[in-house]
């Protein structure tokens, strides 16, 4: 498995080359270089996954954790910062997700970014992002994860601000960077607490590690020390790390950056802000999952309730947005919250066939996988639409199904998938999440079912708003919307994955044949787990999803929308609040400007300006005055010099005598 290092190195070299030499390359060449590299590492990732999952399982039925590389990067006494590659089921799964989506985005960007200024820069940043994200998922220790975590943050910042001449893009990139930085502060403190008390950053918690030859063994993790120091230490560290994850994954109240991040190019939104980077928080919690479940069980409701509230909040906001990318952004927030909730509802790592306490772990990873595929497809479809009509607003669209048939079909497939209709991938994963929630607490289960219904509703509102409804003839005659093959090809591939995975897992889940399922590859205890749907949950969520779609069809499909207007007139304020995202940005503005700036920053600024600056001004004034007073010695008058000279000589003679 040593070739896995190439998966990190190739995109990094591509970034360096495109970043440094891009100026002298044509758009076509630089795009081809980036895409070729991505194709190569995609193939490598698939090889890795194939080799990994077809290898023999360990004695206890789990897949071996491989560490092909682990080098000490910064030795600090007992605490080492290592860099390496760790392969276990979830990191291998993430390799597949990231490279697949990234490859699709690379191809797609040929069409979407054609002729843009900074095309080479764009591809360089995409390579940088891909490298960082891959480095994040294969991290062997939490510090390496943090390192690449920040690198993806930087790539995200660079790509959101890709159109750096637009003030909105600049503001959005700064907002994303600052908000996630604040969250990452929590992550860093958590890491430091963790490292201080356990004496290690390594992920070697509970799994038996099968060492690759020639690698140094990990320092045994000193969990016992941390527990001896106090029972609250590990949960505190984990919660702080969760704050970092919540910032990256746009959990309420740190979600405010994600909708604004849609200012970046749409393929970037698909790659970074839908499929890969924003799930880093989920991945981080999944990575630390054994710790959470074993040592911080009492604190896991934090994850659940943050997730539940975020899911509900984002779904309700998504119902009222008019910008299609914003709808998708809030939908992303909501779906990621689903994954978080699924992780939170686990109660223990259970072994045995039922996985009663830890089905959520598998469900979360499964949903991460399926969501990445169909959400990337949705975003790329949205990109096609925006490319065709040159607007983000739903008003400019309507009736586009005639002009964009392939986009329409793939968009519909993805909408069905996210809504949870059987035979589409979202159904299987979402069903597992709801099953896990039901097992934890029926209340959470029903809330999540309701939110799933909202998901179906707003997605089909979006779908009908774009492809059906009133056509904006004026705009469309001006330049007829059309689609390009290079942009629709990735859509088709992604929707084939969605449908294929959906049909396979649905049939397997209903027990129609005994095949491998996602749970066979990834489960909390690592053992082979065959997904079987709970008939009551499956039927309930399916019926509810179909009802929501029917409702959305009834309201939004027609040319005129009398029901929608009546609903709007019945509760204009509610609509307005939802449209304004319940004024969260304004709340932040109020807190930062009116409270923090006015009562914290301004006094500090005053202190700085008057006390600290005053002290240095005093020093400067003192020096100035002193030199002003002694500059008389440099009068340039010969006789004065001679007098001083004489006095000096006399004093010297006096001393000699």
């Amino acid at each position: 498995m040593e070739y896995t290092i190439l998966i990190l190195l190739l995109p990094f070299l591509s970034f360096l080359f495109l970043g440094l030499a891009g100026k002298w390359l044509s758009h076509r060449t630089s795009g081809l270089i980036g895409t070729t590299v991505l194709a190569a590492i995609t193939i490598l990732s698939y090889c890795t996954a194939y080799t990994y999952f077809t290898a023999d399982r360990c004695a206890d039925g789990s897949y071996a954790t491989l560490v092909p590389y682990n080098a000490t990067w910064l030795p600090l006494g007992h605490l080492n910062f290592d860099l390496g590659i760790l392969l276990d089921p979830i990191s291998v799964m993430m390799l597949i997700v990231i490279t697949t989506v990234s490859f699709m985005v690379h191809i797609y960007s040929f069409g979407y970014m054609k002729g843009e200024r900074g095309f080479q820069r764009y591809y360089a940043f995409l390579s940088l992002f891909t490298m960082s994200m891959l480095g994040l998922v294969v991290a062997t220790n939490i510090f390496q994860m943090y390192l690449f975590w920040e690198l993806v943050g930087v790539s995200s910042y660079l790509l959101i601000g890709f159109y750096y001449t637009l003030p909105a893009a600049v503001a959005a990139s700064k907002k994303a960077f600052i908000v996630t930085r604040f969250a990452d502060l929590g992550f860093l403190i958590g890491i430091l607490i963790f490292g201080y008390y356990t004496g290690s950053f390594s992920f070697d918690f509970v799994n038996n590690l099968q060492m690759a030859e020639g690698t140094t063994p990990f320092i045994p993790c000193g969990i016992d020390k941390a527990i001896a120091a106090g029972g609250f230490i590990l949960p505190t560290a984990l919660t702080l790390m969760f704050i970092g994850g919540a910032g990256k994954s746009a959990m309420f109240p740190l979600h405010i950056w994600l909708p604004d991040a849609m200012e970046g190019p749409t393929p970037v939104s698909a790659l970074i802000h839908a499929a890969t980077m924003v799930v880093a928080g989920v991945y981080q919690v999944a990575r630390l999952f054994p710790l959470w479940v074993t040592y911080a069980q009492d604190w896991m409701p934090i994850i659940i309730w943050v997730g539940v509230f975020t899911a509900f909040y984002a779904a309700s906001v998504a119902c009222a947005q008019s910008d299609i990318k914003r709808v998708l952004a809030f939908s992303t927030i909501s779906q990621i919250a689903f994954m978080m909730v699924a992780l939170g509802v686990c109660t223990e790592i259970t072994t045995g066939h039922e996985h009663a306490g830890s089905i959520g772990y598998m469900a979360s990873m499964f949903h991460l996988f399926t969501h990445a595929m169909f959400k990337a497809c949705l975003f790329l479809g949205a990109g096609c639409i925006i490319h065709a009509v040159h607007s983000n607003e739903m008003v400019a669209m309507g009736g586009l199904r005639k002009y964009l048939p392939i986009t329409h079909a793939t968009f519909l497939i993805s909408c069905l998938a996210i809504s949870g209709i059987p035979f589409f991938s979202g159904f299987s994963s979402k069903d597992e999440i709801i099953t896990a929630c039901m097992a934890y607490s029926p209340a959470v289960g029903y809330i999540m079912t309701a939110i799933a219904a909202m998901t179906a509703f707003y997605m089909f509102r979006l779908y009908y708003g774009i492809f059906w409804g009133t056509e904006n003839k004026e705009l469309h005659t001006e330049h007829t919307p059309h689609e390009e093959t290079i942009m629709t090809a990735p859509l088709v591939i992604l929707s084939i994955i969605t449908v294929g995975v959906g049909i396979y897992t649905t049939l397997a889940g209903f027990g129609l044949f005994e095949g491998y399922s996602f749970g066979s590859l990834i489960s909390a205890d690592g053992q082979d787990y065959r997904i079987h749907f709970d008939p009551s949950v499956a039927s309930l969520s399916t019926i509810i999803a179909i009802c929501s779609i029917a409702l959305a069809t009834y309201i939004f499909k027609g040319e005129t929308q009398p029901v929608a207007d009546r609903m709007y007139n019945a509760a204009p304020r509610l609509h307005r609040w939802a449209y304004k995202r319940f004024y969260m940005d304004e709340v932040y503005q109020f807190i930062t400007h009116r409270i923090i700036f006015a009562y914290v920053s301004r006094p500090i600024a005053w202190f700085d300006r008057h006390v600290i600056d005053g002290f240095f001004n005093f020093l400067a004034w003192g020096t100035h005055t002193l030199s002003n007073n002694i500059k008389g010695f440099q009068s340039g008058r010969v006789q004065q010099y001679a007098l001083v000279f004489l006095i000096g000589i006399l004093v010297l003679i006096l001393m000699i005598l």
């Binding site: 440099q634 009068s635 340039g636 008058r637 010969v638 006789q639 001679a642 004489l646």
Partner: protein
Amino acid sequence: MDRLNDILNIVLGIHVDISWFLILSALMMFIGIYGFLTRRNTLAILISVELMLNAADINFAAFNRLLFPNGQEGYIFTLFSIAISAAETAIAIAVMINIYRNLKNNFVGNLDKLKW
């Protein structure tokens, strides 16, 4: 009359030795220094410098004559000193004439442009 004779004898019985010359030259030196410090005209300052130079010359000659009568070093040094002070005077006076040409006066207080 006898008293006067006695006094004369006492006074004239004192012989001149090296310290007389040294005292004379020291006084001359500090007269020159006083002039250097108080004069405003550059030529007058130069005159004071000549006084100081002469004081030094007297010392050379006196050391040679009274302390090391077998050598010629002080003598020759005085000769060189005279030559060099003549050279110095020539240059200094040329400079002063130039200053006068530019400033229309010769006062040392005006010559502080080189302080920075």
